[in-house]
Amino acid sequence: MSLAIDNLHLSIGESHILHGISLTVQPGRILGIVGESGSGKSMTALSAMQLLPPGSRTTGSIRFAGRELCDANDELMQDLRGDDIAMIFQEPMTALNPVHTIGDQIAEGICLHTGASTKEAYRKAENLMADVGLPVERFPLSRFPHQLSGGQRQRVAIAMACAQSPDLLIADEPTTALDVVLQAQILDLLRGRVDNTGMGLMLITHDLAVVADMADDIVVMREGEIVDQGSTKAVLRAMAHPYTAKLAKASTHRPELKPAAASPEVKDKPIVQARDVTREYPTPRKSLFRKGDTFRAVDGVRFDINPGQSLGLVGASGCGKSTLAKMILALDKPTAGTISIIGTDIVNADTIAMRPVRRAVQAVFQDPGGSFDPRHTVERLIAEPLHLEPKLTSAEKRKRVLDALAEVAMPADSLHRYPHEFSGGQRQRLALARALITRPSLIVADEPVSALDVSIRAQVLDLIADLRHRLGIAWLFISHDLGVVRAICDEVMVMDAGQIVEQGPCDDVFNKPQSDAAQALVAATPDLARAIAEAEIEAGEDA
């Protein structure tokens, strides 16, 4: 039973969201819908489920198994939803109810749609859990969602969605909140379900590489319209539409890495020297009288960062990379070991001794929305680190802010605006401007481009490479995305379970990974360039 959307128009209030979408999801096939934010890809999925926000009007036709779903009544939809059509979302924590056990949640849908007894439903739930790789012996149904990791929760969400062997599964960014290793596992799981049960899968993602790996057919959307569509191989080979080509180019974008300008202040001495850095966290008490064990988030890490060096730090989620970054930024103190930055021991330094360090090391965070106080103007926000230089007059301060804005190619009239008036990419530029204003020798960037659309990401990566070249800034670049690290860094460290298991030039580590962790990361990363190359080779063989 296939889903056929024909000439679907959607408007919410006064704004037109979708303009004539036509697509088909065949049983046993995967349709990938790719687009940047605001392209209407999620709205297309919600239209198929008839889960649109209030005030939406649709015209056109959505046919599923011979029935018209456009403006279908609630009764029909409730019958279909969760039974014939199922959906999984990006964030599995919010999709699961935190106060019910996972067993209850899987069984609920089964009871509802088949009228099975609770006991039968539970037996079925056990099988489903085994199917998604969570055997009941290790993951009893009595667990609550918060007792599982992100990847495990997404597996439970898939088990729930697949409980009724749906004919169509809609997955809206199912792996965006997960690291690459988990992403590969979840995608494998979905692929397996499609192959074994013959269900159709509508896979919505912003990541062309994921679609290239997974999908049989592909739909490229932009601003509520389909700009390109066809079998994945054909679309990747032809790059018929300029937008598809632009997306592919941006996804595989590698900025030109020019050598860093010599930094005048710190000569050849390393900026950062981390020696045997360890951070332990206490786990919750076992009882009133027994302390919990300690958990080593970072375990005996040692490395240097040299002036102008661009060092990548990669690893699966929970490997300790963000904790390490926090310690470099002196937001957290190691429980053992030393970190010295431009010759200052930052573990024991007081506020006064820290001042030069604060000037030398700045940070850029992942979420461009959350890294600015929403109540301050851009001028005040960017000038925030300048309190380290109290001698500056306000005119000088403004000059510094304008210079920093110019460095990141933002207009001078941004000064008096508020952060919410800017897009994600612009905010990340502003974050870079704030980091640049003290003329630092090192910027620690924790997933700085993960939240950005691919075309914006490419621009920000160019900017980062350019800043390094012109200003001689060293980068500690933390990411779970190997493609990004490869594009921007000359050396990379791979972290696993709190330890640095591998370190070396990017090409060496990614082409010949030695450690298990590095091999797993490399194997799990979808490679768009390779997929395009393969599509072209096949086309050559066919011809």
């Binding site: 930024l329 992942q366 600015f372 106080d373 929403p374 925030e384 309190h387 380290l388 919410h420 704030r434």
Partner: protein, 287 residues
Amino acid sequence: MSAPEVKELPGFRETAFASRSFVFGLAITLIVCAVAAVSFVWTPYDVTDLAISDRLKAPSADHWFGTDHFGRDIASMIMVGARNSIAVALVAVIIGVGIGVPLGCWAAARGGLPDEALMRGNDVIFAFPALLSAVMISAVFGPGAINAIIAIGIFNIPVFARLARGGALALWQRDFIAAARVSGKSSIRITVEHIVPNIADILIVQATIALALGILQEAGLAYVGLGTQPPFPSWGRMLNEAQTMMSFAPHMAIAPGLAIVFTVLGLNLLGDGLRDALDPRLARMRS
């Protein structure tokens, strides 16, 4: 209070004045404040004038709300009483905000043992029924408006401390606070520049509600004779005095009763309206 701060917020005015409860609440609150202000310069009669010959008059054109058992004009007493109610509740809220918010922010910034100690101390204060403890304070230090203010104010402290701490704790996890820390700002400076402005919304809403509660508590204390002392009029004591005359002079109880209901209703509506107006803006910003 921090009213000017609210006005700065973009889009606040539109949302607020579209909210019915905000408009009504603001109107009622302004009326009560205006009445209290007018009482400084003019009341229909002097509230200390005893005219026994006119006692227990029903409402009329001369005496809008009638007269009490000493022949005092009830309308005038309500007007002066409004002044008293607002002053007591306002000062009590200022005590609560002035001590509670810094404590809460300090606890959130420090964490660990100081935080734990402070919050458990809060729990202890919470464990006593507010009115009972107010009675205790008034009993020890003697009845009077000042002691009523202190008693009510003390009970506002943990409310605001807890609210400020909760809001601040969530903010301390945010990236923009981390950015401020990376730029080397002290926690006091971060609290003043980033934390307080961002929790001002919830504090303003809570302050409005605490004001309404304060007026009720003041009336309660005055009713049992522990608040404002005669001859200064107070709504709570007027109710108390009316009690024995309910059967033949119900207007004596109805007028102050309505005054209390009217004021508390106005403040609660204002608080609700503020919450409605401030929350969607927060939601927009988070997205």
